[in-house]
Symmetry: C2
Subunit: 433 residues, 2 copies
């Protein structure tokens, strides 16, 4: 392939980096590698999301926190993305009787952002395309590849096969990664995929008289023990509500009337806001989606292949750190590239060494929080603990930091904290979202 | 395929059960299904072990305990196998200075058996073949199969393809199961494979003057903290010694002299018994083998496919219960077949429901014991605890049962005990081998 001169810091490098997957982490990674001067080829099996009409089956919005912002900042994308996000300074807990109680995320001024997944993906793809040494290949399905030679074969939408020779293959192809499959055949590759008994379903809460139906700068939570609902604000003044519930219970609700009955019992205040008719209809638009936690190690195979984002560590969404951890992968890899002069044979093992424990800690915390969130957010004891935590953090900001604040607002290596305070304290401190 | 009348309790059934894998669990399972009157087809990718010269890369002998014996008993194989096993009534702990201290497995009269893997496999295959409704197909490699239709395609050694229509596919094809791969593609299949940092290597300790070089009715253990060696007796009056050690440390020993130096430091009493020259040579015969722990759930897919043995739950060998748990799978499945009148659509989910928690408990116990065995067996505190445990068990046999005794000598559902006493007690009580 032919590359003209580019706008990156070096034009002498001609090494080819094949980024497999053009989702959030793949697109951001393309920017990072392009900025370093590599010849970047992004291969995405789906159509270009910027031309596609509707993207189904993924969460509509996401919580962007400090880790994610730091990673965007390095490629000059932080301000663009933040400007299209909606700050959420607090959780807002909805009790059964309709009263709402805020629980701040951290000190005054600290917040996470509700961002639109599709828009974020589009912005990052367009940013990658501004580098002349980057090519985006859509509707390219990976057929096979070799970690020995870096040879890859793709099937294009027109039925033709395309071959490419990569110096580095970066698997950013999500929780069901095709790239990862070859890792499974290698000796001593540790891998786990764990489905939780809960599924999720998204509902839209429309604006009322052109305004948000609830207070916008909050992440709204309806904790109901075995299940819960959350709602994040969107720029179009809608909220996206996500109902998390065991699959068994989803199966018990099969008619529109049962939906209303169910909501009247558990989320009565949400019915007029979503609208009874919309609720009856939208509840059955898509089946409840499964959630999987994926852990593996190592993240690299020889000096030719590395996994990042969900391909390396899909997490359950209850810590709000899945995308942020994926973005941080890019940042951490980039730092190691600096330290080790872009020598893949040294960079890849170091990336595994540094990154696996942190990602595993986040995956574990997300899983603990899955249990925590559904119950404790509801209890007076939890509210009191939050109050004490935040109070202590305000008066002793360097000594006492609630774990969620730490994970969201400081770019830190979580593992030492995690292993020091240990599982009991983790259970105590897990309060994502 | 044509089946003549057979010697099983029913000849009217013509349902075809395809057992994939002709190892220990596959061969035993063939007996169980044949006894029920199914048309049994066993497919093994390797040659017939009864004709093969040397079987490499698997452990030479195994510890058969009560669970395994119960499963053999049901198909009339217990006595045959026990008669070719060597009872081990105690562990024999070898300290650095050469002193040996026995630690009994249970009360007087309780013992586990050292059995030869290859012989056990041969006996079970021959037993399966005595049923006229059983066919053993060797050198048949599974190419593809469908859980919808039960259609299976195999590649024969002569290059021809063979098709078969199964009513039930039983995956007994080991830790790296081909059958299990299709489970991975299904929604909500939980799976993990975990390699431990240790590898193992087998050495032979020959007879001295036609007699065992050490006391035969013991499982000999040399616990050395980060690593250890064990030795089990064979019928030919040899011992098979197995050295467990981190791969890193295996890599540090690269010459014959280093082997001797290493043994002089840690296992001085074993050098004259194995023989210095043999040790120098045999240590490098095969590379150290990896050990993997595999867990998954569910064990079944639709009403056509089920996993048993290592395909469902490979465990690390430190609890001595891998084969025994696999044999017990056959027994438990058989009991459920009785209870639910061989209705696969009911039997398979019930098998998953009953069996997964027990197998996971055994896998966890084996992993804890991996840590326990290398260190605690060595300490005076452990010896004292064993003494107290066994003493209490003798005076209160129905009230106090050491966990290892329980796992080895009683066919029990381990999970309730496991979850009641919980992880801390499990750590306390795990003392396999």
């Amino acid at each position: 392939m032919d590359y003209s001169t580019n706008d990156s810091k070096s034009t002498s490098k001609k090494k080819v980096v094949a980024v497999v997957g053009g989702g959030l982490v793949g697109a951001l990674n393309a920017c990072y590698f392009a900025k370093r001067g590599f010849q970047v080829e992004v291969f995405e099996s789906r159509e270009d999301i910027r031309q596609a009409k509707i993207v189904k089956g993924r969460s509509i919005n996401l919580a962007l926190s400090h880790r994610g912002r730091q990673a965007l900042k390095q490629v000059g994308m932080e301000d663009t993305i933040v400007s299209k996000g909606i700050p959420m300074h607090s959780r807002m807990i909805h009790s059964l009787n309709g009263t709402q109680s805020p629980i701040p995320y951290g000190k005054k001024g600290q917040y996470i952002l509700s961002v639109d997944r599709a828009n974020l993906n589009k912005e990052l793809l367009s940013a990658a395309e501004t580098y002349s040494n980057t090519k985006l290949n859509f509707a390219h399905k990976l057929l096979n590849w070799s970690t020995e030679t870096g040879a890859m074969t793709f099937l294009r939408a027109d039925g033709a096969k395309e071959e490419i020779q990569a110096d580095l293959i970066v698997g950013c192809d999500g929780a069901f990664s095709a790239i990862r499959k070859q890792f499974l055949r290698q000796s001593r590759f540790n891998f786990s995929q764990t489905y939780i008994p809960h599924g999720y379903l998204e509902l839209t809460m429309p604006p009322i008289n052109g305004e948000f139906a609830m207070k916008p700068n909050y992440l709204h939570i309806w904790p109901r023990n075995t299940f819960m609902m959350i709602a994040l604000p969107n720029l179009d003044k809608t909220f996206t509500c996500t109902l998390f519930m065991p699959f068994d219970e989803f199966e018990n609700v099969t008619t529109g009337d049962q939906v209303i009955e169910f909501f009247q019992k558990y989320f009565p205040d949400a019915i007029p806001l979503i609208g009874a008719d919309a609720l009856k209809r939208d509840y059955f638009c898509l089946p409840a989606q499964a959630m999987v936690s994926v852990k593996c190690s190592p993240y690299h195979l020889s000096d030719k292949c590395v996994l990042m984002g969900d391909a390396a560590h899909a997490v359950v969404p209850f810590y709000g750190q899945g995308m942020n951890a994926g973005f941080e992968d890019c940042l951490v890899f980039n730092e190691i590239m600096d330290q080790l002069n872009e020598d893949f044979s040294a960079v890849l093992p170091e990336y595994t060494r540094v990154r696996v424990p942190d990602d595993h800690a986040i995956a574990d915390l997300a899983m603990y929080n899955y249990v925590e969130m559904r119950s404790h957010v509801n209890s007076k004891w939890f509210l009191f603990r939050k109050y004490v935590d935040n109070f202590l953090h305000i008066i002793m900001p360097r000594t006492i930091i609630p774990l969620y604040t730490m994970a969201s607002f400081f770019v830190i290596h979580l593992t030492p904290i995690y292993s020091t305070f240990n599982m009991i304290l983790s259970l105590y401190y897990c309060e994502g979202f």
